[in-house]
């Protein structure tokens, strides 16, 4: 995986980067170069316009791993904070409604699980 994004970004590439970033973390290799490269790649991905749609795809995916979901949520937070101006009024309305839908669904996961 290249450390800097040059070609098109696809969902499988993002999944691979998430897996690489967290697999190294799970193995306790915090300073591993592969992990650093994956994290750098994910940071570059978050600056790309495609990050909006890929983050949504991950959040909609019933088979997404917790790390993929966390990355997708973090990506949307970063995009909204930094690149809100990329969105037109319609896109903002859709984003708001989609975020609320995910938030409510995730609240139900926490709600039904015993503390």
């Amino acid at each position: 995986m290249a450390s800097v994004l040059s070609g098109p970004v696809t969902l499988p590439l993002v999944r691979n980067a998430v897996a690489a970033a967290y697999a190294q973390a799970s193995a306790g290799e915090g300073s591993n170069p592969k992990r650093k490269m994956a994290e750098e790649w994910l940071r570059s991905f978050q600056r790309r316009p495609e990050a909006w749609s890929i983050a949504h795809q991950l959040l909609e995916d019933k088979n997404a791993t917790p790390h993929e979901l966390f990355t997708a949520a973090g990506t949307l937070h970063t995009k909204v904070s930094r690149d809100f101006r990329e969105l037109n009024a319609d896109a903002i309305a859709v984003l708001r409604s989609t975020l609320m839908k995910h938030v409510v669904r995730l609240a139900q996961v926490g709600h039904t699980t015993p503390h």
């Binding site: 897996a19 967290y22 697999a23 799970s26 193995a27 995916d61 019933k62 088979n63 997404a64 791993t65 917790p66 790390h67 993929e68 979901l69 966390f70 997708a72 949520a73 973090g74 949307l76 937070h77 909204v80 904070s81 930094r82 809100f84 101006r85 009024a89 903002i92 309305a93 984003l95 708001r96 975020l99 609320m100 995910h102 938030v103 409510v104 669904r105 995730l106 609240a107 139900q108 996961v109 926490g110 709600h111 699980t113 015993p114 503390h115």
Partner: protein
């Protein structure tokens, strides 16, 4: 949703084990908190979204979505003040004004929910955390602090072992924000009246070697001493003037 599978790469998280249930809930919580930050960041910047606070409360104040309500209420004031949210000064100020306008309603909503959550101290802690964040980031008048019963609520939470560490930041926040000897007098005396009787509890924690509890009490008493210097010096000054005045009268 893929949260039921636990975290990858760790054989102890086999599907169906209690550990997986715990991680499933915790995993959902992490993702939800990030999405709530995104909702809040969007609310700060979206001028078309009016009445954000009442709108979110209406949508989320239901038993099935109360966790989302608490996460989003914690996120709103934080994102309003976050430099990572790229928004112009005027829009940010308007949003902060909007939060100030609803701060008392949010705090009353949280305080009213406390007795309804039974023995769920996790949820109680989250309710207290919302109050803390709104006290920290919003402008709430001293009269409203008294009116909304934040102070008795904070000290009631402090008396519950499981909430002690969650309630301490709220007490410290109140001690540090309301420090004007005249304007904030009522809040300051209410806090003094609640905090000073806890000195024996601090001494007991110190005697029993309970370092964590002792440290939290020290935080509160130190915040009170530091924040109330003007009040203390004012009292000393009045006392000295009374003594000087008295001795002068005696001499005369």
């Amino acid at each position: 949703m893929g949260l039921a599978g636990g975290l990858p790469g760790c054989p102890c998280h086999a599907p169906g084990s209690p550990r997986v249930l715990f991680l499933s809930s915790q995993g959902a919580s992490f993702v939800r908190k990030r999405l709530c930050l995104a909702v809040a960041a969007l609310a700060v910047q979206s001028t078309a979204w009016t009445n954000v606070v009442p709108d979110l409360v209406t949508q989320l104040d239901k038993p099935s979505s109360v966790l989302a309500l608490l996460d989003v209420l914690v996120s709103l004031p934080q994102e309003a003040d976050s430099s990572r949210v790229h928004v112009d000064h005027r829009a940010r100020r308007n949003f902060r004004d909007e939060l100030d306008k609803f701060a008392c309603n949010v705090i009353i909503l949280m305080i009213n929910k406390l007795p309804t959550v039974g023995a769920n101290t996790t949820l109680m802690g989250q309710l207290v955390e919302v109050v803390t964040v709104w006290v920290r980031h919003c402008r709430i008048s001293p009269a409203d602090v008294i009116r909304t019963n934040i102070i008795p609520t904070a000290f009631q939470a402090l008396s519950v072992d499981a909430l002690f560490e969650t309630a301490t930041p709220l007490v410290v926040e109140l001690l540090e924000r309301y420090t004007h000897p005249q304007r904030d007098k009522e809040v300051m005396f209410a806090l003094i009246g609640q905090l000073m009787p806890l000195v024996p509890k601090y001494q007991a924690a110190k005697r029993d070697g309970d370092c964590d509890v002792e440290r939290e009490y020290v935080r509160m008493f130190a915040a009170m001493g530091y924040s109330y210097v003007d009040l203390i010096l004012g009292s000393v000054r009045r006392l000295l003037l009374a003594m000087v005045g008295g001795s002068t009268e005696n001499r005369v």
